[in-house]
């Protein structure tokens, strides 16, 4: 295939993927705990012939902190700082999320919308109310006796969080590249803190995403013009051969 044509076509394909990722980010801009992704590209080179276009390396999640907002959920939690909640599914598999929309289940566990339980915490059945302090300790009040701590929520951190496997943009799985989860106790001066009655919004900004869409669209058009120019040259060259 003609090199100029291939390079321009690979650029169109790259911008198409870029647009898909940005559109997915935009669609999830209102999802609690959602983390946006960016497409990564690398130059495609042929030995001894220089660059011949671009190649998609896949999407990479960016874990920039989302805005914290007050919420009305019964057990809403937000992480102010790095780290993830560890949630466990029905098969005992562990996942990691910053979506803190939990609710108290009949068995005393705190469960999210996916029916996964928050790891390491169980609220006694006779507890009337429960709140979470910044250091993760869960304080419950009872009909009889004073309120006291019934457990402590701990967070998970990773050596390379950007290498976590994204399940749905808000739920992640550990990989060999991300390293094993390291347990962190929130509340220290320079560490993460928990905010009870708050949720972390998506870290996608609609205005930024719209700007990215426009940029990708223009880049796609520029590459399409490259395809047209290469095609025109081929047409001229063909006419030249005909005489």
């Amino acid at each position: 295939m003609d090199r100029a044509l291939f390079a321009a076509a690979s650029g169109m394909s790259a911008q198409q993927r870029n647009l898909e990722t940005i559109a997915d980010n935009l669609a999830n801009a209102g999802v609690v705990g959602f983390k946006g992704s960016v497409q990564r590209f690398a130059e495609l080179t042929a030995p001894g012939r220089g660059g011949v276009g671009t190649l998609s390396l896949g999407a990479r999640v960016f874990f920039k902190q989302g805005k914290l907002a007050r919420s009305a959920g019964p057990f809403d939690l937000a992480i102010d700082g790095p780290g993830f909640f560890t949630v466990v599914d029905a098969h005992g598999r562990r996942y990691y999320t910053r979506d803190g929309q939990f609710a108290r289940a009949s068995d005393g566990t705190l469960r999210d919308a996916r029916d996964m339980r928050l790891d390491g915490i169980r609220i006694p059945a006779d507890a009337l109310t429960a709140t979470v302090l910044a250091d993760g300790s869960v304080q419950a009040s009872f009909a009889k006796g004073p309120a006291h701590a019934v457990g402590r929520i701990r967070l998970a951190e990773f050596a390379a969080p950007e290498a976590l496997r994204s399940i749905d943009g808000a739920l992640f799985g550990a990989t060999r590249e991300s390293g094993a989860a390291r347990t962190v106790t929130p509340g220290s001066d320079d560490g993460p803190k928990l905010r009870f009655g708050m949720l972390e919004e998506s870290n996608v900004t609609i205005i930024d995403a719209m700007m990215q869409i426009l940029t990708a669209q223009r880049a796609y058009e520029a590459n399409a013009k490259g395809v047209q120019a290469a095609d025109e040259m081929l047409r001229i060259a063909n006419n030249l051969q005909r005489g």
Partner: protein
């Protein structure tokens, strides 16, 4: 025509890498040789990791158009040379 073609290849490669982080733009430089024009490639300065490529889409589009027009001009020159040779051959046949 080959030089214009190479120039287009370089411009389209730069355009394709508009979103490639750390990409070093390739500049095309024409140089006169004894038999025409040759194009030399030179890489621009490296951009820091995590920053966008150093490609200016407008400049590359101008390069695409310029390469296309150069190619057309060269094609016209080839056609003109071909026609003048054809006429010379016809004149020689008449004589």
């Amino acid at each position: 025509m080959v030089a214009a073609r190479t120039r287009l290849e370089i411009a389209t490669d730069n355009l394709a890498n508009l979103s490639t982080e750390g990409f070093r733009r390739v500049a095309a430089r024409g140089a006169l040789t004894g038999t025409g024009v040759s194009i030399e490639r030179s890489r621009g300065p490296a951009t820091a990791p995590g920053t966008p490529s150093g490609v200016d889409a407008i400049a590359e589009m101008i390069d695409v158009l310029a390469a296309e027009r150069s190619f057309e001009s060269a094609q016209k020159a080839v056609t003109a040379i071909d026609q003048s040779r054809q006429k010379s051959a016809e004149a020689a046949r008449i004589q």
